[in-house]
Amino acid sequence: MINIPSTIRISLRALRVNKMRSALTMLGIIIGVGAVIAMLAVGTGAQQRIGDQLASIGSNLIMIVPGATTAGGVRMGAGTQPTLSMGDAEAIQRECPAVLYVAPILSGVAQVVYGNQNWSTGVTGTTINMLFVRDWSLTGGRPFTEEEIRSAAKVCLLGQSVVDNLFGGIDPVGQVIRIKNVPFTVIGVLDVKGQDPRGQDQDDIIYVPVTTAQKRLFGTTFPGMVRLIMVKAKGPDDLPAAERQITELLRQRHRIGQKQDDDFTVRNLTSMMQAAEQSTKVMTLLLGAIASVSLLVGGIGIMNIMLVSVTERTREIGIRMAIGAKTWDIRLQFIIEALILSLIGGVVGLIAGVTASKIVTMLAGWSTVVSPFSILLAFGFSGFVGIFFGFYPAYKASLLDPIEALRYE
């Protein structure tokens, strides 16, 4: 019968006797576990940030861009051909069952003036639905009304960055700003969204009614045309259906024949973002895998020390065998020694890893997240390393011949 508590006590005593050596062996595991935890924390932090950004651009988004024009054999790139119209947007809203909201966009860059301040920013002409498509709420004021859209009213909603740059401390709602010299009344302020996944400031924007944009700001030679149409599908599962329905509808509306190419492109924004999220996940795994190598090296350190320890304590093993230690008594003693080394190393490494990720957050400003999973992983792995690398030395010890071992000097 093997007495586990006593074996643990025997092992602890052996480790205490060689304090310096035990500490150095543990250091390998501490660094390994610490690295795994810190790396996973950095990776998970990045992943979470991308997830947040993904949520900030809105969920279940589809973007429809006009096709490319060709001017004398020179193809001008996507969005240059004015093929999308307000009518298309309305038709999509009306006829595609998988679509929840549709927002047409007619945008451009314009100089904006308030008092003695001026600022260049993106001005987007759109409808009320834009706020629903982007899951965007207001911090002050009110959204457009149907009437304002119909009548091409000179009203606007400001993003927070525009407010900061033009108004300083003043409440902008009710003030009049000039966009391309046209006076607009500020009726509302958009909530802060921060950067989008490409690092662009989403708050540096002004929304005006799409009709106003057409008439006053970015009027083109093609009245009723829009730059792009943003669509929110009913749910993540409805995205493919929505894409299909939109494509069919637009081909029909644009009278595109069976063999002709589309004169527009339907892009699924969410899936693009999910790809970005996927790649961060891969990066996290990669970082974790690299850090695990150091944990492995720590494990080899444990094995090395345990082998030295077995040789050095051959006589002790002989004595223990002579007075009745069985094969597994000896094995367990050394395995438990290795396990204690690796587990204590694991706990200290955990603390080190969490501290390191806090420092990274503080110094580099990266968000880091220590997930319970990474703690469990690092801990489980260090325990496994202890048993795995402790076993061979323990096995070697248990095979010693007691007579030889007793004679060992």
């Binding site: 019968m1 093997i2 007495n3 006593s6 025997i10 005593r13 006797v17 006589r315 002790e316 002989g318 004595i319 223990r320 065998m321 002579a322 007075i323 009745g324 230690a325 069985k326 094969t327 008594d329 007691p402 007579i403 007793l406």
Partner: protein
């Protein structure tokens, strides 16, 4: 029933091409409560014989009955259990665990017998008291004299109430005075606790403490006689 009975024990070491007969058909009977000294020059086979008696080694041939049980062909772990319960070892070099207190050294056999901490400490303290080391429980081997260390080793051999103590040159590292003290202790344990004691020694004077002297030479018993005290 004899505590030890060996029947035609042989031990052959195969050294390459040459077979070395360390023990050549040794048959001996030792009764419970005997005090025996084993003598012989080096290479005579006495150490091999002791290792077999101590269940540290297995004979090549023959039968070894310990308290009537044939242990010659038991497994490693079975032999370990026998050593733990039936045999106490005392070595020339004491063989105590360094940096470990006297009490913990004595507790060791009980640890492998699965006793709880309280019982271990009580029995170890009692064994230390028996060998005259009460009060030294927390001393480490390097804080004790050679004689005291050997007493700790004897206490360790006693602690599991083993009926047999095997001592391999227990006085080899001790001066004459301490040697006789240790031998007196063995004699007292033999007399009072009825423990069977077998010691290996080079010295005639040491063997005088025993009551039966067995001499080995070239793997065979050459003499087996009662000790007549001078």
């Amino acid at each position: 029933m004899a505590i030890i009975e060996t029947q035609d024990i042989t031990k052959v070491y195969q050294l390459g091409e040459i077979a070395l007969n360390a023990l050549n058909h040794v048959s001996l009977t030792i009764e419970k409560g005997e005090f025996i000294s084993i003598m012989g020059p080096s290479g005579s086979g006495k150490s091999t014989f002791m290792n077999i008696l101590g269940c540290l080694d297995r004979p090549t041939g023959g039968r070894y009955l310990l308290e009537g049980v044939d242990v010659a062909h038991m497994s490693r772990d079975e032999l370990a259990a026998i050593r733990n319960k039936k045999i106490g070892f005392v070595f020339q070099g004491f063989n105590l665990l360094p940096r470990t207190s006297a009490l913990e050294n004595v507790e060791l056999p009980l640890l492998y017998d699965g006793l709880n901490a309280k019982e271990r400490a009580e029995r170890a303290a009692a064994a230390l008291a028996t060998v005259g080391l009460a009060g030294r429980e927390n001393h480490h081997p390097n804080q004790l004299s050679g004689g005291q260390q050997q007493r700790v080793a004897i206490a360790r051999a006693l602690v599991n109430d083993a009926p047999l103590i095997l001592a391999d040159e227990p006085t080899g590292n001790l001066d004459t005075k301490t040697s006789s003290e240790i031998m007196e202790l063995f004699a007292r344990l033999n007399r009072e606790a009825d423990i069977t004691i077998i010691i290996v020694t080079h010295e005639k004077e040491i063997s005088e403490f025993s009551r039966r002297r067995i001499c080995f030479r070239d793997g065979v018993v050459v003499s087996d006689e009662s000790v007549v005290r001078a």
